[in-house]
């Protein structure tokens, strides 16, 4: 046996990408390029990304996700004219339905005419990121310093290099805001990539309800790489709901990082039915005593879809509570992932942490990988975790059919019941119904319910 060359022995932990060259070309065009601190942060970010590369499956955090096909697509930056051309269709297909304020993004760019922010309460500021880079450089700088930093994460670095738009949401202490963010992918010349940045600072005692919808005008190929950084002040409350109904050819790699002060509570619930590949990564740090977070997710997938839920909760202070509950329905060759990690640090006594992954496999070719992990460095804690994978119950199916209900309807009833039980944990009723709507749409489209 010959000697192994040093070249071959070097572990390949990343996938080579053309983004550095793309960045060099775009550097002087990106919004905010005239702010020197923005450009120097971008330079640092692309250097960091070039060093880290697109994560391969050898990186533990990404072991269930193969990003190689992503690297093979030539994504380009979205064109504003193409986005504006889609405005009328977006307005028609996604009319504003609630009294809450709304920001509409087409291919990652804020669309002013479709957005509505007329009646923001006093003490609340909401502004587009590109607008902030143009007019409010100092505010932007202090905001980005106030929310959690995102070092060491390859795709967050890529977002930091290319971020062109997004929004800042700032709540003074004891204020309240309900806001909707609609992200729509629209046709462009080719497959576009966009990197929205959402930055939220909620002051002490404030209350924020945020609903995000990610969708597309048709079965387009694109890559959405949003980063959301959230800072919740003492006793602040945030309800964060997300509907991921991307095109079946889309990639979404979403990262949310939330810092929670004493007595504050963060609730996050994601329903995902779209995307060829969707990563829902959430990192939460319970920084203050008695902080809590509830992370929940429901996904319904078919075909070759892949959804990767990567959660990490750090209990860094005593009396914190965290829940991670993810339930999926997987048909055909779909692949679901739950990687949940809860770390209870020294001194975080009386922490209460729970993780649960449940999956319903409708096909022998569907795959669910569940990896709940607890890491505990305190001695007085209450933590538990569990994971189950099952099929539709044959006895339940027979009982329903024995009452005249056809097989497809019986399946649909049982799947809806599985998800519905889970959605009951969504605290806000209107939001729960909104999320249930996506489950119903999936069932109606995917299962041929009723007879011809």
């Amino acid at each position: 046996m010959g000697a192994v060359s040093p070249q071959a022995a070097r572990p390949s932990r990343s996938i080579e990408l053309p983004y550095a060259a793309q960045f060099a070309a775009a550097r002087e065009e990106l919004p905010g390029h005239d702010l020197s601190w923005v450009t120097s942060e971008r330079d640092a970010a692309i250097a960091r990304f070039s060093e880290l590369g697109l994560p391969s499956q050898r990186v533990e955090d990404w072991k269930y996700s193969n990003l190689t096909p992503l690297a093979k697509t030539d994504f380009t930056a979205p064109d504003r004219k193409a986005a504006e051309a889609a405005r009328a269709e977006v307005a028609e297909r996604f009319p504003k339905e609630s009294a809450a304020g709304r920001l509409v993004f087409i291919n990652g760019m804020l669309d002013g005419p479709l957005s509505a922010l007329e009646e923001l309460p006093a003490g609340v500021r909401v502004l587009g990121l590109a607008d902030a880079m143009a007019d409010e450089g100092d505010l932007l700088k202090s905001q980005l310093e106030a929310v959690p930093a995102l070092n060491g994460h390859a795709l967050a670095a890529l977002n930091a290099a290319f971020m062109a738009d997004g929004c800042l949401i700032i709540l003074e202490p004891d204020t309240e805001l309900a806001l909707e963010l609609l992200f729509v992918a629209a046709p462009d010349v080719g497959a576009v990539a966009y990197h929205p940045r959402i930055s939220i600072a909620a002051g002490a005692g404030s209350t924020l309800a945020l609903g995000e919808q990610h969708t597309a005008l048709g079965e387009l190929e694109y890559w959405s790489n949003p980063v959301t950084a959230i800072s919740l002040g003492e006793t602040a409350q945030m309800r964060h709901y997300k509907l991921q109904e991307e095109s079946r050819r889309a990639w979404q790699t979403a990262l949310t990082k939330t810092r929670i002060a004493a007595g504050a509570a963060y609730e996050n619930f994601v329903v995902a039915t779209g995307g060829r590949y969707a990563r829902n990564e959430i990192k939460v740090v319970l920084e203050g005593a008695g902080a809590s977070c509830e992370l929940g997710g429901g996904f319904l997938l078919a075909g070759e879809q892949h959804v990767d839920n990567r959660l990490r909760v750090d209990h860094a202070a005593p009396d914190g509570t965290s829940r991670q509950t993810y339930k999926g329905v997987l048909d055909e060759r779909a692949h679901g992932v739950f990687q949940g990690k809860t770390v209870v640090h020294r001194g975080a006594q009386k922490s209460d942490g729970n993780q649960l992954s449940r999956a319903l496999l409708l096909s022998p070719n569907a795959i669910m990988d569940a990896k709940p992990e607890l890491e505990i460095y305190a001695d007085d804690v209450k933590c538990s975790h569990g994971a189950t994978v099952g099929e539709l119950d044959g006895e339940q199916m027979f009982y329903l059919r024995a009452r005249g209900i056809d097989e497809a309807s019986a399946r649909s009833l049982l799947i809806a019941a599985f998800m519905d039980e889970h959605l009951q944990s969504v605290a806000d009723q209107a939001a729960r119904e909104w999320l249930q709507g996506a489950v119903s749409r999936w069932l109606a489209q995917h299962l041929s319910v009723g007879e011809a």
């Binding site: 009982y399 329903l400 024995a402 009452r403 049982l414 019941a417």
Partner: protein
């Protein structure tokens, strides 16, 4: 109504029903009695179409159709109803939603107009009042957290709503105290009619004091070993099954 001829059924290679025959006409109530393991529940499940049973011989004609050619839901829509010995709990499916879905599936099949929510609530209220089923129970998810008696009453409520031609009641009396048994029996008796037939499967004679059958069949080791009138149930109560089982083996 129902014509079972020479039916043999195996489960995992073991023969449970052996050359079983039974003829049931409209308006009749037949009781099938037998010890544990005699094949009573197998008979009910085979009629309703549950998976896992091998029909090795025989035929079943139901209202002129080959029963085995029909999927379980088609049997139900054609008016065959099985009251389960162990009603299945289905978390997350509301009792009322389930009932409305089932009733409308059957009404649609019969060419009747499907009930809207208000119509259905009205019909359901009449039927459940008669069975002492509370509105609260209907708001719970299907059979979850129901007591044994509540589950059985819920089965009879379903039967009342689905208005079958042939009802197979599989040990509806099991697990019921005497008061619950009377409520269940009243519900069953209210559904007796010249157009409807019933097969009442039971281990004990007790239920048959309230639901008086026209015929009684004793099932032992997969065969009918005696058939007679309602007085056969009393004889069985006196002598126990052991004598009958012995006879069966002697005859075999």
């Amino acid at each position: 109504m129902l014509e079972i001829k020479g039916l043999s059924v195996s489960v995992a290679g073991k023969e449970i029903l052996k050359d079983f025959s039974l003829s049931v006409a409209a308006g009749e109530v037949h009781a099938i009695m037998g010890p544990n393991g005699s094949g009573k529940s197998t008979l009910s499940y085979v009629l309703a179409g549950r998976e896992g049973y091998d029909i090795t011989a025989g035929s079943v004609l139901y209202r002129g159709q080959d029963l085995f050619a029909l999927e379980p839901e088609m049997r139900a829509r054609e008016g065959l109803f099985l009251a389960f010995q162990y009603p299945v709990e289905i978390p997350g499916v509301g009792s009322a939603t389930f009932l409305k879905t089932a009733v409308n599936a059957i009404r649609k099949h019969r060419g009747e107009k499907e009930y809207d929510a208000m119509e259905f609530l009205k019909v359901m209220r009449e039927k459940r009042d008669a069975l002492g089923i509370s509105e609260e129970m209907m708001r719970r998810t299907l059979n979850v957290g129901f007591s044994g008696g509540e589950k059985k009453r819920n089965e009879i409520l379903q039967m009342a709503l689905l208005e079958p031609y042939l009802a197979v009641l599989d040990e509806t009396d099991s697990g019921l105290d005497i008061d619950a048994l009377k409520v269940a029996a009243d519900g069953i008796n209210a559904l007796r009619s010249p157009e409807r037939a019933m097969i009442v499967i039971t281990h004990y004679q007790r239920l048959l004091e309230y639901v008086v059958p026209d015929y009684v069949h004793v099932l032992a080791d997969g065969r009918v070993v005696r058939s007679g009138g309602k007085e056969l149930a009393l004889e069985l109560e006196e002598k126990g099954y052991s004598g009958f089982t012995g006879n069966a083996e002697a005859a075999a």
